[in-house]
Every structure is written in C-alpha cells, then in structure tokens.
C-alpha cells in the first residue's frame, strides 16, 4: 500500500511542475511587465533597474521561472498591478472567507445527498424516487446565480428576512450572529447547487449496488432490506463518495465564484472576478496556480484515502 501511495505522490509531482510552467508561461505571455506591479511611475530609471535585478527580472526566462517558483514556495506570490498590495496577504484574508462559506455548504450538501440518494436508489421507481430524481435533474439545470437572484428577491426584497450583500453589517464585524445571518442565503444557494449532482451520483451508485449479486445472496439468507442497505450497500456506496470528497478540495477556493459575486461576499471569487475585469494578471495566475495545485493535491488525497479504505487496493503491490 505504501508503495502505491509513494508511486501516486511521484506521479503528482510532475503534474504540479507542468501546471506551474503553464501558469508561468501565461504570465510571460500576458501583455504587461511584472515590474510594473512593484514600481510607481515616479520612480527613477535606476530604482526600477534595481528592483528588476532584485527580483531577477533581468535574467533569462528559465531563471525567472526558478526565482518565481522559489518565491511561491516561500509564500512570495507577487503584487497586484492595480492596488500594489501583496497577493499572499490578500489571499490570506480572502481564503478563510470563502472557506467559511463553502465548507458548511458542502458538508450539508454531502450529508443530505447521501441520505436522499440512498432513499431514491432504494425506492427506485417509487414516488420518493420520482420526486428526488425529478428535482435533482431540474436542479442541475438551474444556474446558481439565478437561484441566488430568486432567493434574494424573495427573502431579501420581499420578506426582508436576510441581508443580501456582504459578510458583515458595518459596525458589527466581530458579531457571530451577524455573520451567521449573512451566511444563510449564500450557503443555501451553494448547498442547493452542490446537491443535484451528488444526489444523482449516490442514487445511481445505490441502484448499481442493489443489483449486485451479493445483495441477492443476502436476501436469500433472509437479511431484512434495511439491514442489507445499511450493513452492505452503504459501505459500497460511500466508498466512491470518498473520491468525490477528495476531488472537491479545490472547491474551497473556487467553488463559489459566481455565488460570491452575486452576494458580494469578500472571498476568492469576487477577488478573482475583480482581477479579471481589471486585467490584474499576477492575481489571476496566482489563483490559477493555487486552484490547479489543489485539484492535483485533492486527487492525490482521494486516491490515498481510497487506498486506505478499500481492502482490494490495500492488498495490491504487496
């Protein structure tokens, strides 16, 4: 098993390197000069040269790449062209904001989806299944921003129950209840937009497992259907769900771009959209690098998890 995990890690490293080269290449292609981010128009020619030399911007491209990688590894992510703020500092504020929003939403969606998916799968073709499956195939078709607008209109404008913008009411930044009230609508939107696909996945996986021979064997030995579902089928259904959870790691950063934008949530999403609109290349590339690395790491994690949980893989390579 450790051999396999080691192998898997060795596979992930070249991927990360290639991704970083792509990001670096895109920065180089971009119509701007990296030094602009660090200088102001009234700096002297000499100062600019000095800064260039200090950051290695006078070196050939591949050397710059190494400086760049070195910088990234030591938390030096560059500066915004527009605001001249340190990107890593911005990110350290923005990422937690996004996590507060995405993590609970994802967790709720996962739990609900497993429950609903199991019910639908076990009652295939019955009323419960028709409702759950019907709603989720509709849910997949609903753009999250539109759902957000509908909720904002109903609960914000009409009923005036929840705030519709931002993370805090001005003046009560430290208050938890204030944060909670701001969280309700965006979290609902995210939960609802995560759910349909998860539900369908769990449902079809449940249906698949229920048609397996071992289920028939358990029936032949008089096991009650509930017992079969929880003792036997559930494990087999949850196993692939682990993969999905692992692969959802990057969602912590990019899972809510649209929703954040609608609700003006000060997370990575709004940061990203703003930087796109302002052609703020260093930020765009930083987020691209970050999110792609998270995808690779997420895949790696899910493979490792799978390998720990699934006895069939555990035994391999020994």
């Amino acid at each position: 098993m450790f051999k396999y995990i080691f192998k898997r890690i060795m596979q992930a490293i070249p991927m990360l390197v290639i991704i970083s080269i792509i990001c670096f290449g895109l920065i180089q292609l971009a119509p701007y000069d990296a030094v602009d981010a660090m200088t102001t128009p009234n700096m002297s020619e000499k100062t600019v040269e000095l800064i260039k030399a200090r950051y290695g911007l006078d070196q050939p491209a591949y050397m710059q790449y190494f400086y760049w990688v070195k910088g990234i590894l030591s938390g030096e992510w560059g500066y915004s062209i527009v605001t001249h703020e340190s990107i890593s500092k911005d990110l350290s504020v923005r990422i937690p904001n996004t996590i507060i929003l995405v993590l609970p939403a994802y967790f709720i969606a996962l739990v609900l989806s497993v429950i609903l998916g199991l019910i639908a799968g076990a009652r295939k073709g019955k009323l419960a299944d028709k409702i759950i499956d019907g709603l989720s195939s509709f849910g997949i078709a609903i753009p999250s921003f539109w759902m957000a607008m509908v909720l904002i209109f109903i609960f914000g404008y009409q009923l005036n129950l929840f705030p519709i913008l931002g993370m805090h009411t001005i003046g009560s930044e430290g208050s938890f209840s204030d944060l909670f009230i701001h969280l309700v609508l965006p979290t609902t939107v995210l939960t609802l937009s995560f759910m349909p696909e998860l539900v369908r996945y769990v449902r079809s996986s449940t249906i698949g497992q229920l048609s397996e021979d071992y289920v028939m064997v358990q029936q032949a030995y008089g096991a009650p259907s509930i017992g079969i579902l929880f003792n036997h089928v559930l494990r087999n259904v949850l196993l692939p769900v682990i993969t999905i959870v692992g692969m959802s790691l990057p969602m912590l950063v990019t899972g809510a771009v649209v929703t954040e934008t609608v609700f003006g949530w000060p997370g990575i999403g709004t940061y990203f959209v703003k930087s796109i609109q302002g052609f703020d290349y260093p930020i765009i590339m930083a987020i691209m690098l970050l999110s792609s690395s998270l995808v690779i790491i997420g895949n790696l994690l899910s493979d490792i998890l799978y390998c720990i949980v699934d006895p069939r893989i555990k035994g391999m390579g020994e």
Binding site: K7, M10, Q11, G317
Partner: protein, 326 residues
Amino acid sequence: MNETREKLVEVKNLKKYFPIKTSMFKKGNQVVKAVDDVTFHIYKGETFGLVGESGCGKSTLGRTLNRLYNPTSGEILFDGKDITKLNNKELQPFRNRMQMIFQDPYSSLNPHLTVEKIIDEPLEIHTRLSKNERKEKIIDILEKVGLKKEDLDKLPHEFSGGQRQRIGIARALSINPDFILCDEAISALDVSIQAQVINMLEDLQSELNLTYLFVAHDLSMVRHISDRIGVMYLGKIVEISKSEELYDKPLHPYTQALLSAIPIPDPIKAQNSKREIITGELPSPIEMEKGCRFRSRCPFAKPICAEADPQLKQVDDEHYVACHLY
C-alpha cells in the same frame, strides 16, 4: 504411416510472456508466462484438441499461433514457412489461410453490421471478387451452415446463440481457409446446440479438408472431436497423445486428475468410478519456481520434480509426456 503425414502447423519452443505493469516509469520485469516453451505440430486435415483449465494458456497459445499476439520467442511454421517474424503486410497471404471461430457468439459479431457485411469482411480483404460475386458466395456459404438467404440483412441480435455461431463459422469459411482455430467455440452454447455445431464442424472438415485447432475446457467434447490432444498446465504442454489413448491410458498425473474429474453422465459409472480428486488450486502464474509446475498438487512428486523442469519426451508412437515418472 505417420512419417508420410504432412504437417500443416509446427510450433517450436514457442514462448509468449505478458509483462505486468508495476509502475509507469519502469517497465516491470515481472511477467506472466502464459505460454512457456511449447513444442508441437498439427497434421493436415486433423483436429488437434488443446485442453486445460482456465489460466493454463491454451487460448493464448492458439492466438499466438494465429499471430494475433506477437510471440516472445520461438518459431511457428505454417505449411513449412516461418511466420513468426513476418510483419502485418507479409502476413497477409497467410491470414486468409488461417481463420478463427470464437467462444462468445455475442461479442464475436459486430452488433451494428448485417450478416452480409459481417461475412463480407474477410472476402473484401482477401479476394478480388466484385460485390455481386461476393454476395453470391456469401449466400452459398450461409446455406452451407444451415442459414437462409433471407438472413442476409438481419442483425446479429435477431439470432439465437447457436445461429450466431453458425454466422461466425460462415465468416471463417468464406475465404476457403486451410486452418481454423476454434477458440472455445462451443463453450457458450447449450448442450443440444453444441451437438449441432460439432456435427457441422465435422462435416465441413471432411468436405473442405480443413485442419482444426480445437481449444476447449470441456474434456468430453474435445475427446469427441479431436484426433490428437494436447494437455496444458500453467503455460506448458504436459502431455500429447491420440485422443483414445489419452483417455484410456493417461500418463501425466495432471491428465489423470483432469480426466477423473470429468463428471460422467451415467449414474452407475459415476458412482462406481474411483475418482482421484486432486487437492489444491492453480498456483500463481507470476511467481513460478523452478521444477515441475504441477508438483505442488501432484500425489507422486519426488525430489527431482523440484529440481528440474521435466521435458516433453516420446513414450509411444504419437504419445509424448513431460513428467519425471517416465
């Protein structure tokens, strides 16, 4: 008499190893020795049966012989010519002399093509006939295998398993081959249909002077159709003999065990026969130790069996066995 018989296929020291992928960086040095140093021949016009349990390499041997797989080493002579190292283009003239019938009547016919197009495939490649001539020929062959002209435009799913197998046979026959590899050709069929197909294969053989390599795990069917039989165990041929002789006087302990395991469809004989049931199961084909491969299950294993790999030796006319007992 046998000296004068012409050999159609001769296989010398044939090996087919499949590498096991262990990592993406280095090609694994572990291999499965699916066919390991096999030597035998098939006479013109005879049926050679190849039996053994799953995983013994009998199908791989057949397919390597037909050059569906590239052999690892060794020689395959077809009608006296070495075809082991020929490339695809050079093989073309042999391809129409060697045909194949498969096990699964469902996956061996393309579900999207009509019967006509299925049978037309080899004709189109190997003959210069016009479309109409080919069609005539296809109708002719269809009738030969007991199907009708009306079946030309039907799709495979409209036929039963036995009929599909007939289509497969018609396809193989369409270009007048000399040699047909029947790879578990009747295993997927019902007992009553098996007999239909076997009889047809026998009739076609005598009519068209065909040579068969009949690969199967059903020992009683193999006995019925074969003139000579080779028994395989873990990539090796352990015994070759004329079929009656093999069943009357099996020499290799594995052959003996295999034959006594056949359930006899006769209650009195079945209950009276003293069955030697061998214990244990097939060892892994990956971690092969030296010495005889059967010794872990062999009731007669001696010290020498762990030392040396027994070679196939002739013990009687047309009877070869690879065992240290002989």
